[in-house]
Symmetry: C2
Subunit: 189 residues, 2 copies
Amino acid sequence: MSYHHGDLRQAVLQAAAERIAADGVAALNLRSLARDLGVAHTAPRHHFGDKRGVLTALAAQGYRQMAERIAVQRGGDLLDAGVAYVQFAVEHPGHFAVMFRPDLVDESEPELQEAVGALGRSLIAAVAAFRGEPVAEASSGDPREQSGTLAAWSIAHGLAHLMLAGVAAPAEGESRAEFIRRTLAHIAV
Amino acid sequence: MSYHHGDLRQAVLQAAAERIAADGVAALNLRSLARDLGVAHTAPRHHFGDKRGVLTALAAQGYRQMAERIAVQRGGDLLDAGVAYVQFAVEHPGHFAVMFRPDLVDESEPELQEAVGALGRSLIAAVAAFRGEPVAEASSGDPREQSGTLAAWSIAHGLAHLMLAGVAAPAEGESRAEFIRRTLAHIAV
DNA sequence: GTGAAGAACTTTCCAATGGAAAGATAGATC
DNA sequence: GATCTATCTTTCCATTGGAAAGTTCTTCAC
């Protein structure tokens, strides 16, 4: 056996995401994953501590990537941000499956908290930009404003889940982006 | 040991729901559950086949109970139905955690399919009643073709998830029902 | 260069879990 | 009261996550 895989940490995360995407979180097992990567089954422990550590790192990666994706949409419609949210979830089911899952991850992990914060800022900025407000004022405590943001988040989050559950899908001849946009358009912020 | 527990099937479902509600689906294990019920760890297999069978039965129970709950709201606002949806999810996290999870259940199970159908009919009826349409005509179209219905479902489903994830919560001095209603009110069907 | 020192990985061991198989008991039916 | 069937137990096994200790590689001071 050759020591030093090279970038085992990243390899584990990628493999885990693929397997979760294919068979769900419940089916993920570190042993067969390590087998495929050609390392001992305890090798990932050095990088992640335990299985929960793997899922935590995967969730953090998901939050970061989603935050980036939404930030890129800036300048666009609020709907664009929503579409980006749902698209990310559908295209990265392995990541999305461990995000917003306090039971699967270690919420005290600083890396995770920072990643969650980054996504939160992206979402708030998207809503603020839509309203034409300076981002700095966006986090004022107006309950109506917050409920609008939460409503927008909810519909995107819910649609993502329903699509992943196989309950919702684009009509024939309709692109996924069009379908998502058409559905999210029913929100009134 | 005394044979014949009485109603082991129901006891297992209830215990499973409680445990999932407390620690999440991943933490559920049939062995300690059976231990608490005072039966051998293989006893539930007779009623459910395997672990997936337990989760499938739990999901079916969840769909049925949610369908009932929403049907009771008939005559009320569409928002009432939405509030009922979210309330059920928050009050029965053990059931909701296995609903809409194709990776956890056996979707070919007839009991599950029937239960899903019942919930679908309740949702369609709720939207139809809101629109003032006869229920009979409402079910002519597949719900997934009607973006308004899907949007309403999405926002309720998403809010339920966000609340369970600890991301969203009522403001101080606000009841849960008020909070849910206020958030869902942003939908335009 | 060389020799720690630490990082990355392996080997070995263990407890717990889900499940298979076969046997025991209780309730129902006649 | 004998038999039949549903319900539950006992025993056994493969797989999994994890603990502990050892091995190999890299880095870096000198």
